[in-house]
């Protein structure tokens, strides 16, 4: 390069390209480093993803199984039906507390021959507090069975369940007043005998939430219905309104200030934090319109407003993707603008619109923050709605709100439920997204 500085027009031959000079080596090292940062960034992100998924699965899967005790309970007539006339009203007078001695007696006979320092009275700590209610419900449904010995499958307490799943170890029980290490020894023997079993727990998927002291009983079914009713509201409102708004903006809107205002509004609404929509829902639907608190319809309305911008943006994109030649062709044979849009453009854009809608719904399904404000958290969803109207209007929870609720509770047994709930929620989201992907693959058109 020396001749360059001399400015002479004629140069000698340059150096060979077959040898790397030191500068190029250095530059190539920098290149490799830079590329390395990129790979590292990808790897770190994937590592986060994998550890997130592993955490979810490993913590959540146990929620789908539950430990039960098989117990033969003798339904003692003297205790349950003193008069012996099988009068259902009289049988109903015996509270769940009245069933306790029967269950205890059954436990004593079931643990017969096992060495234990526990008193007979303490034995029922291995059972869920719900055991009495289960037996009582059975008796009320079949009053003729009084006096017989019936085989029951009863939930164990969450501590025992945790022990069977390896979540609870003996050291944890040192300060626990609900269970002693001796109970666990008992359980070990009973499990060997096959009296204590861990099986798949349909009640977690279809059951209702339970009070704070019975994590073993809690299920996500009722809040799943709450989410379902909310999504119905969102679908019924957001899809037509979103499509109508997009058609107007994309096909009919003149270039003026009002149109600009709407456009700016939509792009900004898409980025407004979801919690602000919660405040809006609280102020407008509950404070102003006096709609019932915690009701899926309020949640649905709030989520509709939140999802609308997403749907509008994707619908406009798919309308835009339909080439103008289609419109020209329709107008050319004498269709009105409206006919051209509704007969030709909209059907062609439909797969894209549906894909966008499903993705918007999936987003709404997982959204939690607005639900906190309209009271869908803190409500314990223990009852199924009685019908469609009650499904919309009666207080309920929703899946993400239920998960949040469980995460806030003190008993770690609820954490397992929360993770399990996340698995259910993610399965729903995954299904919705898969449908969206399939729709897109199947009907995507390249112009």
């Amino acid at each position: 390069m020396t001749d360059a500085t001399q400015g002479g027009p004629i140069r000698t031959k340059g150096k060979s390209i077959l040898e790397l000079d030191t500068r190029t080596k250095k530059r190539n090292a920098a290149e490799a480093r830079f590329k390395g940062y990129g790979i590292a960034a990808i790897c770190v992100s994937l590592f986060f993803l994998v550890s997130l998924l592993v955490t979810i699965v490993s913590n959540g899967v146990p929620a789908f199984t539950q430990t039960f005790v098989n117990l033969s309970v003798t339904l003692d007539e003297a205790k349950l039906d003193k008069n012996g006339n099988r009068n259902i009203d009289e049988i109903k007078k015996v509270s769940t507390f009245g069933y306790k001695p029967l269950i205890n007696a059954a436990l004593v006979s079931a643990t017969d021959g096992i060495e234990t320092e526990l008193t007979d009275k303490d034995l029922d700590k291995i059972l869920s507090a719900s055991a009495g209610a289960v037996v009582r419900d059975h008796v009320i449904a079949n009053p003729d069975m009084i006096g017989e010995t019936v085989e029951f499958r009863l939930l164990t307490s969450s501590r025992v369940d945790g022990y069977m799943k390896g979540r609870v170890v003996r050291e944890d029980l040192a300060r626990d007043k609900n269970l002693d290490a001796a109970h666990l020894d008992l359980i070990d023997v009973m499990a060997e005998r096959g009296a204590v079993q861990r099986t798949f727990n349909w009640d977690f998927i279809f059951g209702s939430d339970a009070s704070e002291s019975r994590p073993e009983q809690a299920g996500i079914g009722v809040s799943m219905l709450g989410s379902f009713f909310m999504m119905l509201v969102v679908l019924a409102l957001a899809l037509p309104i979103g499509v109508a708004a997009s058609i107007y903006l994309e096909e009919f809107a003149p270039q003026n200030r009002f149109t600009d205002l709407i456009e700016v509004n939509i792009s900004n609404l898409a980025a407004v934090p979801s919690i602000v929509f919660g405040i809006l829902g609280l102020a407008v639907f509950i404070q102003f319109a006096h709609l019932p608190q915690s009701a899926p319809i309020v949640g649905g309305l709030t989520l509709t407003l939140m999802t609308l911008p997403t749907i509008v943006i994707s619908t406009r994109a798919s309308l835009k993707a339909v080439p103008p030649s289609i419109r020209d062709a329709a107008l050319g044979v004498g269709a009105s603008k409206m006919q051209a849009v509704f007969h030709h453009v909209l059907p062609l854009a439909m797969p894209g619109i549906l894909t966008g809608t499903i993705i918007g719904l999936a987003q709404a399904l997982g959204e939690t923050a607005p639900l906190l404000l309209i009271g869908m958290v803190g409500y314990i969803a223990t009852n199924y709605p009685e019908g469609v109207t009650s499904g919309f209007l009666d207080p309920n929870s929703a899946m993400p709100a239920q998960i949040y609720e469980w995460a806030k509770r003190a008993d770690p047994a609820f954490y397992e439920r929360a993770w399990g709930g996340i698995i259910v929620l993610l399965l729903f989201l995954l299904t919705m997204n898969l449908i969206a992907i399939i729709l897109r693959r199947r009907f995507e058109r390249r112009w």
């Binding site: 190539n28 290149e31 480093r33 830079f34 590329k35 940062y37 990129g38 590292a40 960034a41 990808i42 992100s45 994937l46 986060f48 993803l49 997130l52 955490t55 979810i56 309104i241 979103g242 109508a244 708004a245 107007y248 009919f252 205002l261 709407i262 509004n265 939509i266 792009s267 900004n268 980025a271 407004v272 934090p273 979801s274 919690i275 602000v276 919660g278 405040i279 809006l280 102020a283 407008v284 404070q287 102003f288 407003l305 911008p309 509008v312 999936a362 399904l365 939690t368 923050a369 906190l372 803190g378 993400p400 998960i403 949040y404 995460a407 993770w419 996340i422 929620l425 993610l426 989201l429």
Partner: protein
């Protein structure tokens, strides 16, 4: 007649109108549809719409206006002394509504006759017990004033409902008649119907504006109310956040600064995680990765974006928090003892950073791809290495867009709720230690508004002031970011 019933009747009339409109059109054309200006279906739709739309609009208008009129008229009946006693008017009015509802239920269940309900007296009959018997629980005994107001309320509502039904059905019938009269061979039904549809489309598009308006108004009204109870200067400049939970008002310190500090600190850490990782991931995917790698890694990254925030919240609370404590906590691996509990700025910031990675990377990816190929060619043609091209040509060219993307990510981080509610802690604190628990604006909106359906105390109303602050900050960031990104796009279009 219930509102649902009315709506159904109006819709039914609409269907009748649709059929009538069609047959009328065919009959005026003498059975030859070619004589008509528009297709018969448009005449039918014209009659149907004319039947339904005005009636429903009237009905909805009535449903909004009637309670307002009744409220103002009934609230005039409540003497000022009762208002002082009962705390405030809105509480009393909700009592009145509850009693009125209770009476309605009692009548429909047959526990009371209509005349019993209207002639009930607060002194002679124990209204509270009677209502409790039909399942309406009241907080306190019913005073004479309340009972009278409730009876008046019922009477007015009954008259109002009767008129509502008459007006709605009448409007439907009149609409149908007018539309049927208009039906003629030369009548341009299609144009009229299409104009109607266009109106519907415009109305749908206006919902976006209404939503924004609703957000702004509900925030402003409640914030103004808050500032009447609590000085604005204290809210904006006080260094401490310490709401009293017992009793109404008094003794609460509601300064936003500690919350803002927590919000910004957490967002800063989140961006510290998300921006380098997201940006490098985007650079690698758009500049280096081969097709198979890209089509494998990109959807996986986007998977991170599709996971609901509640999942990240749980991840922070139950996994990342305890893990950080085991490293930085008192008996941690490093033995430094910086961290007292699992919830901390670091926990929330780290997890939020993970959440934001795909956000940053996909935005940056778009922006990097928008840089024209000719720039890359130009640089490579001069003998620059790929990384030199990226660092010295592509990134500077994409810088405005990337800044916009980072601002959008920042706005996301500031508005994020679930992660901080679960992962950041509840204590408002002005501390520099990232391992301390702190709290944010969004977390406090949640904690001040949940479990309290009464919005009269400053402790609850402060949430709206926090909300408006959050709204203004995120809106500002979004507007700037969108402006930058749009300007940037124009540059290469």
């Amino acid at each position: 007649m219930s509102n649902l019933m009315l709506v159904l009747i109006v819709l039914g009339l609409g269907a009748v109108g649709f059929v009538l409109g069609r047959s009328r059109a065919m009959s005026v054309a003498g059975g030859d549809r070619r004589k008509l200006h528009s297709l018969p279906v448009y005449y039918a739709a014209h009659v149907g719409l004319n039947t339904i739309v005005p009636a429903l609009l009237l009905l909805f208008g009535w449903m909004i206006v009637q309670p307002m009129i009744i409220n103002s008229s009934v609230s005039g009946m409540i003497p000022a002394s009762a208002i002082e006693e009962g705390g405030n008017l809105s509480l009393l009015m909700s009592d009145v509504r509850r009693v009125a509802e209770g009476l309605d239920i009692a009548v429909t269940q047959g526990a009371m006759t209509v005349s019993e309900a209207t002639n009930l007296s607060a002194d002679a009959d124990n209204v509270r017990d009677k209502l409790a018997a039909v399942g309406v629980a009241l907080g306190s005994d019913v005073t004479t004033d309340t009972l009278h107001a409730a009876q008046r309320y019922r009477a007015m509502a009954a008259t109002g409902n009767l008129w509502k039904s008459i007006v709605a059905i009448g409007a439907a019938l009149i609409g149908m008649a007018v539309a049927l009269r208009l039906t003629a061979v030369a009548f341009r039904a299609r144009n009229v119907v299409e104009r109607g549809i266009l109106m519907v489309l415009i109305a749908a598009a206006s919902i976006a504006v209404l939503t924004t308006l609703g957000i702004v108004l509900s925030l402003i009204f409640n914030t103004v109310e808050f500032f009447q109870l609590y000085p604005a200067s204290d809210f904006f400049f006080s260094l401490s956040w310490n709401p009293s939970f017992s009793g109404r008002g008094g003794g609460s310190e509601l300064g936003i600064l500690p919350l803002l500090w927590g919000t910004l600190y957490i967002s800063f850490i989140a961006l510290l995680v998300a921006v380098p990782i997201g940006l490098f991931a985007a650079i690698y995917l758009s500049e280096y990765a081969s097709n198979p790698v890209r089509s494998f890694a990109k959807p996986l990254l986007e998977l991170l974006a599709g996971i609901p925030t509640i999942v990240y919240g749980l991840f922070a609370l139950l996994t990342v928090g305890p893990m950080l404590v085991s490293v930085f906590g008192d008996n941690g691996a490093l033995g430094v003892g910086w961290m007292q509990g699992g919830t901390a700025v670091m926990t929330a910031g780290l997890v939020m950073g993970i959440m934001l990675i795909p956000f940053v990377s996909s935005l940056s990816d778009d922006i990097i791809n928008a840089v024209p190929q000719s720039m890359r060619d130009g640089s490579l043609g001069l003998g620059a290495t790929h990384s030199e091209t990226v660092r010295q040509v592509i990134l500077p060219a994409a810088l405005p867009g990337i800044v916009g993307a980072i601002l959008l990510a920042a706005s996301r981080a500031i508005g994020e709720t679930m992660i901080v509610v679960l992962g950041a802690g509840a204590a408002a604190r002005l501390s520099m230690n990232p391992f301390d628990a702190m709290t944010t604006v969004t977390a406090k909106i949640v904690s001040q508004l949940t479990g309290d359906s009464d919005f009269a105390s400053p402790e609850a109303l402060v949430a709206f002031a926090l909300g408006i602050t959050l709204f203004v900050i995120t809106l500002g960031l979004n507007v700037i970011a969108l402006f930058i990104v749009r300007k940037y796009r124009e540059q290469y279009e």
